[in-house]
Each structure stands twice: as C-alpha cells, then as structure tokens.
C-alpha cells in the first residue's frame, strides 16, 4: 500500500487567491464576509456572504472558454493551475492515463443555470445557450479540468453537501494507496452566491441573519450563534505517493494518514445532537490512521454555528478525546471567509496544512460569549503558536453526513 502525500496547494477564496494571500489573512483573523452586491439580496433572511474578488486578474483562461462555463468551474480551473504550479508539475510531462480528478461540490453552477432558465421561460427553448447542458451540473468542473489538461484517468465528483470535498480527498487517497493512479487533483468548488442557491441555503434555516454586521455574523461555538454565512471558492490539492514525491524531490506538505465517513441517520437537516455519529467517524479515521487520540495537536472544526451543530461537534470531540479534549486547539477558520459548502473541506485542508507548516492554530473569530455546552479551547479571536504535527479535519453535511481526515507532517 502506498503512503499518500500532499505536494501542491491551490486556493481561490474570499480571503484571497493563492496560498500566501490566503494564509496572511487567516493568520490575522480578518473577516471577508460582506453584504451581497452581485444581485439584490436584501429581501433574503440572510444576505451576506464571502465573495471572491479579482477573478479577472487571476484567470489564465480564454474568453472563448469562460463564456461556456459557470463560476464554479472557473474557480476550480484557477485553483487547479495554482496547485499544479505549486507542486512544480507540468501536465505535459505526466502520464495522463494515470492522473485523476476527485472533486466535491454540493449544488452545481447556478449562476449560469439561473440566467439560462430565465431565458427558457421568457424566450422559449431557443433562448437557452447550448452550453447550459455542460455548464451547470456538479461534475462540470471535473470535465473542464480533464479537458484543459487532457487528463484521462479514473476520476470522480462527490456530491455530499458540505462534506463533499473532504470525501473527495478521502477517496482520492484510497485510489492512490491502491496504486490505481500516480497523481490526483483533489478538492472542491462551490459558487452559491446566486439568487436561487442563496434561497435554497436560506430555506434550510442554517444561515445567519446578522446582516447589519456581516463581519461578525458567523460566530461558531459562541452562545449567541445564529448560523453560518455562505462563501464561494475552490480548493485543489495535489496528491501522490510518498515514494513518487521523494523521487521527484517534491515539496511535501503533509501525509494523509487516515479518513472515515459515516451518517447520523437522524434528521434531514440537523445532525444528531449527541454527536455519536461524528464521534464514531473520528474514531474510525484515527484507527485508519493508526494514530491515538493523544497524538492529535489541532482540530479544524466544521463549526456550522447552529445550536445542534456546535453542541454535537463539541460532544463528539469530548467523547473521543476525553480528558484531553479541552487541551486541544479546535478552531473554525471558515468564520472568516464563509462556509464554502461542498468546497469547505478542501479549503479547510489547505488552511490546516498551512497551520501545520507554520505551527500556528488559526483563530475562531467573533467568539464573545462562552456557551456552557461548548467548553473546548476554540482558539478565540487570535491565532496561537502551537506545535502541530498531526491534525484532524471535520466536515459535516446536512442530514448527518460526517467526514473526517487525519493529516501528519512527514
């Protein structure tokens, strides 16, 4: 069985495009949640979000391609290029039959789809762009990445709500472990800042209505929490075997030690308040990693900032880590840039890798009022220096989907 490592990072997020800008903003705890200006969202209960700025500046794509794809594919292509460059990989020199793409997405490309559906009802079927068919669906970015780099190996798009991209990374590792591929671009992308997508997120009842103060609206684990703010973006990681990475003298960020996923089976939106399912997933991931709870130095939490989500996540961590639970830094950096839904796990993996590299636990911002039921060390408001050799990342989807990834320094 191969050991699987991460050798390249590409990030497109409200906190910045590229790992340096992203990490600088995370380190200082800056919030990038603001009022939505892309369309009039003022009548939505929650009308704040993390939005990516400056795509025109960062893009390497032609106008001819851009008019055929949705924003979520665009962001995934920019993140893929950044990740490959970071990993010092030229796809022209790779075996494309042995290269794969594993991406996660929750809702598809609605910015493109909504415009075309409006035209369908106003102008009839001839008003719809022929690109609509290939632009909107969740696997569209996988297709675009494969065409752009002529990648032909086993690939997959995971649609599993907010757990999508962490699952994609977990499955990618499994495929590399079994030596079915040499190289994988793994991660996710999401573009939910559109009228219909925002409506769907609002009707789930999990979004913050702190519209008067967008930067402090998303407050995970705080007693006054009232849901999360959505965000758009993409995270792509380059995965390969440790052996291959060493052979080509690649920069190795981290080893993927373990992964597990399961379901609560309790409610269509809310997680199990007792956190039993998540605790089981954490235990399975640690077992897969052959790591004891004592070895985990940092936990990147899902931090969805709803009553059930925060309490169940806290309970799950306490169940697994027992007396040590309160000594482990647990934070939710996504409060700074928004919950990227299907892309959140990939971007959390990137922030965790940068946290390990810098031995700095990112803060949970907007933490003001402690909740007696959430009594862990959430690294409130300020990043903290702490040695991080092994870390755990949690992603959870609606309906009780749990995914857990364990990383370790090489």
């Amino acid at each position: 069985m191969n050991e699987v490592v991460i050798t390249g990072l590409g990030v497109v997020s409200p906190s910045g495009v590229g790992k340096r800008q992203f990490w600088a903003n995370i380190k200082f705890g800056r919030s990038f949640i603001s009022k939505i200006e892309r369309f009039d969202a003022s009548l939505y209960r929650s009308h704040i979000a993390g939005v990516v700025k400056g795509m025109d500046t960062y893009t390497h794509l032609s106008e001819r391609l851009l008019k055929k794809i949705d924003l979520f594919s665009h962001m995934a292509l920019v993140a893929s290029e950044a990740a490959l460059t970071d990993a010092n990989i030229d796809m022209q020199n790779e075996n494309k039959d042995r290269t794969g793409i594993f991406m996660g997405n929750a809702i598809g490309g609605w910015l493109y789809a909504e415009t075309e559906l409006r035209d369908l009802y106003l102008e009839g079927r001839e008003g719809v762009s022929p690109y609509m068919a290939s632009a909107w669906f969740p696997a569209a970015p996988q297709g675009q990445i494969s065409i752009y780099y002529e990648i032909k190996g086993y690939s997959k798009t995971v649609v599993s709500d907010r757990a999508s991209s962490l699952q994609a990374i977990g499955y990618a590792r499994k495929v590399l472990k079994q030596n079915k591929l040499d190289l994988i671009l793994a991660g996710g992308m999401e573009a939910p800042v559109t009228p219909y997508a925002l409506l769907c997120c609002n009707t789930s009842g999990v979004l913050s209505d702190g519209n008067d103060s967008p930067q402090t609206a998303y407050k995970p684990f705080d007693k006054d929490r009232n849901g999360f703010a959505i965000g758009e973006g993409s995270g792509v990681l380059i995965l390969e075997s440790l052996e291959r990475a060493k052979k080509r003298n690649a920069q190795i960020y981290a080893k993927i030690l373990g992964f597990a996923t399961n379901c609560d089976g309790v409610d269509r939106i809310k997680p199990d308040i007792n956190g039993a399912g998540l605790a089981a997933a954490i235990e399975l991931a640690l077992k897969d990693a052959n790591v004891t709870p004592d070895e985990i130095d940092y936990i990147c939490a899902d931090g969805a900032a709803t009553y059930e989500a925060d309490i169940s996540e806290t309970r799950a961590i306490k169940k697994v880590f027992k007396d040590r639970a309160k000594k482990i830094p647990v934070s939710a950096p996504k409060a700074m840039f928004g919950n990227l839904l299907g892309a959140s796990g990939a971007v959390d993996t990137i922030s965790t890798i940068l946290a390990m590299q810098n031995n700095l636990a990112p803060a949970t911002i907007n933490y003001q009022t402690p909740d007696p039921e959430c009594d862990l060390d959430y690294v409130p408001n300020q990043a903290r220096e702490t040695k991080i050799d092994k870390a755990l990342i949690i992603s959870r989807g609606r309906g009780g989907i749990n995914a857990v990834l364990v990383l370790g320094k090489v």
Binding site: S62, E63, R64, K67, K68, P130, Y131, A133, S134
Partner: protein, 78 residues
C-alpha cells in the same frame, strides 16, 4: 458586406476570436477547433441573422466559412 464576411464576423463574436485567427477559407473544425456545442450555437445565431432554418448537423465537418455562406445562400433562395 458579403454573407461570408458576415458569417466570419458572427464567428469572431461568438468565439471571442482575434480577427487574424479566422479567414474565409478557415475550416471550422480543423482550423478554428470548433466543437459540437459551438456549432449548435453558431447554427442558432445564423438562423436568427439570416432568417433561415439551419441545424448544426447540416454543417459538414470539412466546411469552411465560405462553404457555410453557400449553404446559407441556398436556403435563402428556397
């Protein structure tokens, strides 16, 4: 402006090409690398512009811009 020149302009606009990337002898598939969906988009644009009925399937794989003009001309006469 000839029909062929008009078609060339439509293709430049649809595919966001530079004018020097296409001439009247350019083959749509081989030289301009048009894919099947771009061909559908072009057929719809030509239908609207010239008020003819045209589907992407009627455009041969080897067609040039001038060939397309001939197809449009033949339809206009009918």
């Amino acid at each position: 402006m000839s029909v062929a020149e008009e078609i060339r302009g439509i293709i430049i606009n649809l595919l966001k090409l530079k004018p020097n990337e296409i001439n009247l002898d350019s083959r749509l598939y081989e030289d301009v690398s048009m894919d099947s969906t771009e061909m559908v988009e072009l057929a719809i644009a030509l239908e609207k512009k010239f008020n003819v009925k045209l589907t992407a399937r009627e455009i041969p794989r080897s067609a040039t811009v001038s060939d397309l003009a001939k197809i449009i001309d033949s339809k206009k006469i009918v």
